[in-house]
C-alpha cells in the first residue's frame, strides 16, 4: 500500500490537525479529542452533532460551520466514534436548547450515538435523534436492520442546519428530519474497491470487467455484481431504481451526484449529464444539483445518485445560507 500517511494510529489525529490548520477561521478541535466544532459559535439554538468513521472526507468535519453542523465526531477509519467521544461533543456544543444527533443507519453508529445520548440525558441535556437511511439498495425487511445511511446525509445536514439556524425547536427539528429522510433516496455503484488504510488491503476483490452494485460507504460489498458496461447504461439502471423508490411525478427535486473518492469530476459530470436529461424527459424539475466528493469511501471508485423530493419548506431551507468548508451557499 502506498499512501501519504505516517503511523497508522496517527491517521485521524493528523488529518484533524491538518484540517484545522487549513481552516483556522472556520473550525477548531477540542482538547485531544477527534471532535471538530465551529469557531463562530451561535448560542440560543439547537446544536447539531453528526459524525462517523473517518474515510468519508469531506464528511463530516467539512460540514461544520454556519448553517450546518455545530460539531462532527470522527472515529477511526470506517469505525464509529466511541460513545464517550460523542458525549464530549454533545457537552461541547449544547447551549441549553438541546442537541440533535444526525446518525447514519449503521449498527455501530446507532449504538454509540444512543449510548452518548443516554449519558447526556443523565446530565440534563435534551437530546434528539434523526436516523438517516436513504440507501435503497438493501431492502428494508424484518430480516435486516433497515436501510443504510449514505450520501443523502449531506442534504439532512444542510436542511436541518438551516432550520436550527432559524430557531426551530428540537422537537420540530426531529419532525422535519423524519420528513426530509423520507424524501431522500440514494443508490450507488462501485468500479473499484477501496484500500483500507488500517489493513493495507482492498475492501473486496472486483474483477477488471465487473462492477459492484448497491454498496455502502464502508468498503463493504454491495448487493450483487454486474458486467461493466458504460456510464449511461449504469446511470440509467441506478437512476431508474432511485426514481421508482422516490415516487416522484413532475415534482421539484435536488440532485446529488456523489463521488466515492477516486472518481474524477469528468466522470461525475458525465453521470450528471445523463441524470439531468432523464429527469427532464420525465418533467421532473431539478432545483439544485451538487456534483462532487461529499461522502466518500477512501479511494473507492464509483458514484451514488441521490434524489431529494422538495417541499416549499425544504427547498427554502436547502437554499438558505451555509458557510462550511465543503459546502457554501449564499
Amino acid at each position: 500500500m502506498k499512501k501519504l500517511i505516517n503511523k497508522k494510529e496517527d491517521i485521524v489525529k493528523e488529518m484533524i490537525e491538518g484540517m484545522v490548520k487549513a481552516f483556522p477561521k472556520n473550525i477548531e478541535s477540542i482538547k485531544d479529542l477527534p471532535i471538530i466544532v465551529r469557531k463562530e459559535k451561535k448560542y440560543g439554538k439547537v446544536a447539531l452533532v453528526s459524525g462517523g468513521g473517518s474515510g468519508h472526507e469531506p464528511a463530516h468535519a467539512g460540514f461544520v460551520g454556519y448553517g450546518m453542523l455545530d460539531a462532527a465526531v470522527a472515529g477511526e477509519v470506517f469505525t464509529s466514534p466511541s460513545a464517550d467521544k460523542v458525549y464530549e461533543a454533545i457537552k461541547a456544543v449544547d447551549s441549553g436548547e438541546g442537541v440533535l444527533l444526525i446518525i447514519k443507519n449503521y449498527s455501530g453508529d446507532v449504538m454509540n450515538f444512543e449510548m452518548a445520548a443516554e449519558m447526556a440525558e443523565i446530565d440534563g441535556i435534551k437530546v434528539g435523534k434523526v436516523i438517516v437511511d436513504d440507501d435503497i439498495a438493501v431492502e428494508n425487511s424484518t430480516y435486516t436492520v433497515g436501510r443504510r445511511g449514505i450520501a443523502g446525509t449531506i442534504f439532512v445536514h444542510k436542511i436541518l442546519g438551516a432550520a436550527a439556524e432559524q430557531g426551530y425547536s428540537l422537537e420540530n427539528l426531529e419532525k422535519l428530519g423524519k420528513e426530509v429522510v423520507n424524501n431522500i433516496k440514494t443508490m450507488g455503484m462501485s468500479l473499484k474497491s477501496c484500500t483500507v488504510f488500517t489493513t493495507g488491503k482492498n475492501s473486496f476483490d472486483l474483477g477488471d470487467d465487473e462492477v459492484e452494485i448497491g454498496l455502502g460507504i464502508h468498503g463493504e460489498p454491495g448487493t450483487h455484481r454486474e458486467k461493466f458496461s458504460n456510464a449511461n447504461t449504469h446511470v440509467e439502471h441506478i437512476l431508474a431504481k432511485v426514481l421508482e423508490e422516490s415516487k416522484i411525478n413532475k415534482e421539484k427535486v435536488a440532485v446529488l451526484i456523489n463521488g466515492l473518492g477516486e472518481t474524477t469530476l469528468i466522470e461525475l459530470f458525465i453521470v450528471n449529464n445523463r441524470v439531468a436529461d432523464i429527469l427532464k424527459e420525465k418533467n421532473i424539475i431539478v432545483e439544485t444539483t451538487l456534483v462532487g466528493n461529499y461522502m466518500t469511501s477512501l479511494d473507492m471508485g464509483g458514484f451514488s445518485i441521490t434524489i431529494l423530493k422538495l417541499t416549499d419548506e425544504i427547498e427554502k431551507l436547502l437554499k438558505s445560507k451555509s458557510d462550511t468548508i465543503a459546502l457554501k451557499t449564499f
Binding site: 464509529s80 430480516y143 443504510r148 488500517t198
Partner: protein, 202 residues
C-alpha cells in the same frame, strides 16, 4: 487465576489473531474487527496498573470503559455494554464462585442482546456465547477441568455454526445471502476469548 493476568493473555491472543479477525470481517463486513478489538485490549494492557486492587465490579467496569472508548464501532459498544452489565451483577461481592460467574454470564448476555438488538441464530457473537452460558448452567457441579473442556468444544461449535447462517444483524446483514459460507468475525473473537479463559484456568 489473577484476572489481570487473564485479561493480559486475552489481549495477546487478540493481537496474534488481529489480521485473521480483520480478514473474516473483510469478507462480510468492513475489514476492521481485529484491528479495533486489538486496539482496545492493548489499551487495557497499557493501563494494567490502574486495574490493580479494584473490586470485581470496579474491575469489569473499568475494562468495559476502556473497550468502549478505544475499540469504537459496534464491537466496542457491544463488548463494553456486556462487561458493564457484568460489573453491575458483581456489585458488592468479593468472590467469583460458580454462582456469581453464572450470574455475571447471564448479565453479559442480557447486555449484548440489549445493545445489539440480536438473538441467537443471527450470525453474531451470541452464537458463541449463549451455548457456553447454557453449558455453564447445566453443568453447575461438574469438575472444573471437565467443564472447561466441554466449554471449549461448545464455543468452537458455536463459532463454526455461524458459517452456514445468513446474517441479519450488523454490517454483514447488508450482504444477505452472500454472507452465507463465511464465519462471523464477532463470533470468532468471542470464541478466542472464551478459549483463552479455559486454557488458562485449567
Amino acid at each position: 487465576m489473577d484476572l489481570i493476568i487473564l485479561v493480559d493473555k486475552i489481549a495477546d491472543v487478540i493481537y496474534e489473531n488481529k489480521d485473521y479477525l480483520s480478514e473474516l470481517d473483510r469478507v462480510i463486513g468492513d475489514s476492521d474487527h481485529g484491528v479495533n478489538l486489538s486496539r482496545g485490549f492493548q489499551k487495557i494492557k497499557e493501563e494494567k496498573e490502574s486495574l490493580k486492587n479494584l473490586s470485581y465490579s470496579d474491575f469489569f467496569n473499568k475494562i468495559a470503559m476502556i473497550l468502549i472508548s478505544n475499540v469504537g464501532g459496534a464491537s466496542g459498544a457491544i463488548y463494553g455494554t456486556g462487561l458493564m452489565k457484568v460489573a453491575q451483577s458483581l456489585k458488592g461481592t468479593n468472590k467469583l464462585d460458580r454462582e456469581n460467574i453464572i450470574k455475571a454470564a447471564d448479565a453479559m448476555v442480557e447486555g449484548i442482546k440489549m445493545r445489539g438488538k440480536a438473538q441467537c441464530g443471527e450470525k453474531t457473537m451470541l452464537d458463541t456465547i449463549v451455548p457456553v452460558v447454557e453449558t455453564l448452567k447445566e453443568n453447575k457441579n461438574e469438575e472444573l477441568n471437565e467443564l472447561l473442556k466441554k466449554i471449549q468444544i461448545i464455543a468452537k461449535n458455536g463459532v463454526d455454526s455461524t458459517k452456514d447462517m445468513k446474517a441479519t444483524k450488523g454490517r454483514a446483514s447488508y450482504l444477505g445471502e452472500r454472507s452465507i459460507g463465511h464465519l462471523d468475525p464477532g463470533a470468532m473473537s468471542s470464541y478466542l476469548i472464551i478459549d483463552t479463559i479455559c486454557k488458562n484456568l485449567k
